[in-house]
């Protein structure tokens, strides 16, 4: 890792309290968090269930305001969602009334900067990139879960974001599809050359995809440890059987176990 690499995402001393309107109470979710993600990196966040991983991602996207500290993307402070970031959401966030092509085009439609023909062209290029050529005119309900998540990824990538945020994008997929999608994601991101922040609760997935894995502590979440994954960047599923892989996985698992014990919840859901 070069010393002068520029931080794509720079999180400085971020704390975040979530206010619950019903109970009238504030819940501290993130506490004094520092994190830097560098250009071209894929960094995963894992942690005990309910520790605030998704909340953190939403804060980076600008959907939730932080209580203290600041989040910088390319040196600019994040206050609201912006075109420099795009989010891949969990299952079933595709608009069922839009075709694959129109779903992918959604962000460009909102921007309204490009002419329709150009938006269509770019959307179709992304549909092709994620391997869905021929399905552009299908509706989401006509696709399998894995294909739907490809659309979801394409919908974010079409914006050509500086930083791609992925919020447990494979959580709803069956185990087999999930593994294949992990390989696909690496290929897609290599082609798109995007920096990415990936939230998951599956350690195995985090290790396989990432250059570094960030382990969150129990709520209010801080960073417990950052672990560099020393595996070749070109990975196939067989990597998951190598001793080096298993060692990292074990180590992360133990860290999370410690945290889960603190909350009285031993297993990671």
């Amino acid at each position: 890792m070069g010393a002068v690499r520029r931080a794509k995402l720079d999180v400085r001393g971020v704390s975040l309290d979530l206010y619950n309107e019903r109970t009238g109470k504030s819940l501290p979710v993130l506490s004094d968090l520092d994190l830097a993600v560098f250009e071209g990196e894929l960094v995963s966040i894992v942690g005990p269930s309910g520790c605030g991983k998704s909340t953190f991602l939403n804060a980076v996207d600008g959907l939730i305001r932080v209580t203290a500290g600041e989040i910088l993307v390319d040196g600019r402070a994040v206050n609201a969602p912006g075109p420099d970031r795009a989010m891949v959401f969990q299952h079933d966030s595709l608009f069922p009334w839009r075709t694959v092509r129109d779903n992918v085009m959604y962000g460009l439609d909102l921007q309204g900067k490009l002419a329709k023909a150009e938006r269509v062209e770019r959307a179709l290029a992304l549909v092709e990139l994620v391997g869905l050529t021929g399905f552009a005119d299908h509706y989401p309900h006509e696709l399998s879960g894995g294909m739907r998540q490809r659309v979801n990824i394409a919908r974010a990538l079409v914006m050509e974001p500086q930083l791609l945020l992925l919020d447990e994008p494979f959580a709803a997929l069956d185990a087999q599809t999930r593994e294949f999608m992990q390989v696909e994601l690496l290929k897609i991101l290599a082609r798109a050359k995007t920096t990415a922040l990936f939230v998951t609760h599956q350690i195995n997935e985090a290790v396989f995809l990432s250059d570094r894995v960030v382990v969150f502590s129990a709520r209010p979440a801080g960073i417990k440890e950052v672990i560099a994954v020393d595996l070749p960047p070109e990975r196939s599923l067989s990597v998951k059987l190598q001793p080096a892989f298993l060692q990292v996985e074990q180590r992360i698992w133990r860290l999370i176990e410690q945290e889960a014990q603190k909350t009285g919840m031993l297993t990671v859901a």
Partner: protein, 298 residues
């Protein structure tokens, strides 16, 4: 049931009831095939069974009605008869008297119902989306929604007089609340994930309404339009019965007072037909907007 039995005559006899028979045998013959790719039923009867049964039952009813009047079982003064109604309708269209009534009622409907949509849908979106707008307007909406709109007729007559505008107002009042209330519910039940996606892609409020709120609210919005349609037609008839100089409701009321049962029936049929046609139109619109939805059931 005899014709149904005949339709299945080519197939081997089976103890299953006739309605189950086809499905059971097809499933047995092609166990591996999905139901949706089974060949369509071949005989004319099988393809149109539903519509044909409906038509037949209607024709039987009309024939029974006509004969019972012809045989003197019932007094045509009370029930009229299909042939009398047709003859009266032809006369009324020929001398043009009914066209004026249709025009008047049509105008009241189009303006009143149109205004109810133009005001009800945007207001419903605003009330559903912005809790402050809802807080301000909800007491009025709830109170008026609970009031039978017909009870307001005397007031509306005092304000707008006996002419067209009072009926337009009553049609509007009848239609606007179902549209409004259903739109509000539609907006409130928008999937929070979709709202989050739109926000994440930088949507402003206006884009949110157009690209997320409106498409997700379509089912409830159309339910509101359909309920509003019924109320609008009631509004026309009752409003014109209460005080008017023309219109189908006026026709029904005056003809009824003179025991002109044939004319009453013509008026009722025209209004009923309008209701059926308009509901059908709404269903077409619904189908156009819902074509992305996977089909459920058979």
């Amino acid at each position: 049931m005899t014709s149904l039995d005949r339709a299945h005559a080519e197939e081997p006899p089976s103890p299953a009831p006739a309605s189950m028979q086809g499905a059971v045998e097809q499933a047995a013959a092609r166990p591996a095939r999905d139901e949706s790719i089974l060949p369509p039923p071949t005989s004319f009867w099988a393809r149109h069974e539903h519509a044909l049964l409906g038509t037949i039952s209607m024709l039987v009813f009309l024939a029974f009605w006509e004969t019972s009047v012809d045989l003197g079982w019932v007094n045509p003064l009370f029930t009229s008869s299909p042939s009398r109604i047709v003859r009266t309708a032809i006369d009324m269209f020929a001398d043009g008297s009914i066209l004026v009534d249709m025009q008047v009622s049509g105008f009241e409907f189009i303006v009143g119902y149109g205004a109810a949509i133009v005001i009800g849908v945007p207001l419903g979106i605003l009330m559903g989306w912005y809790s402050r707008v809802d807080a301000v307007l909800d007491p009025f909406v709830s109170a008026l929604y609970a009031t039978p709109r017909i009870a307001l007729l005397p007031l509306v007559m005092i304000w707008f007089g006996i002419g067209l505008m009072s009926k337009v107002a009553i049609v509007f009042l009848g239609a606007v609340f179902p549209i409004l209330v259903n739109t509000i519910t539609g907006v409130r039940t928008v999937n929070a994930d979709f709202v989050k996606v739109a926000r994440s892609f930088g949507s402003n409020d206006w884009q949110m309404f157009l690209t997320v709120v409106l498409p997700s609210s379509v089912p409830l919005l159309l339910t509101g339009l359909r309920l509003g349609l019924g109320h609008a037609l009631v509004g026309i008839v009752v409003g014109e019965m209460y005080g008017a100089t023309h219109g189908l409701g006026f026709l029904i009321a005056t003809a009824g007072a003179r025991f002109q049962t044939d004319k009453v029936m013509v008026g009722i049929i025209i209004i009923a037909a309008a209701g059926i046609v308009l509901t059908g139109l709404l269903r077409l619109i619904e189908r156009r907007f819902e074509r992305w939805r996977p089909s459920i059931g058979g």
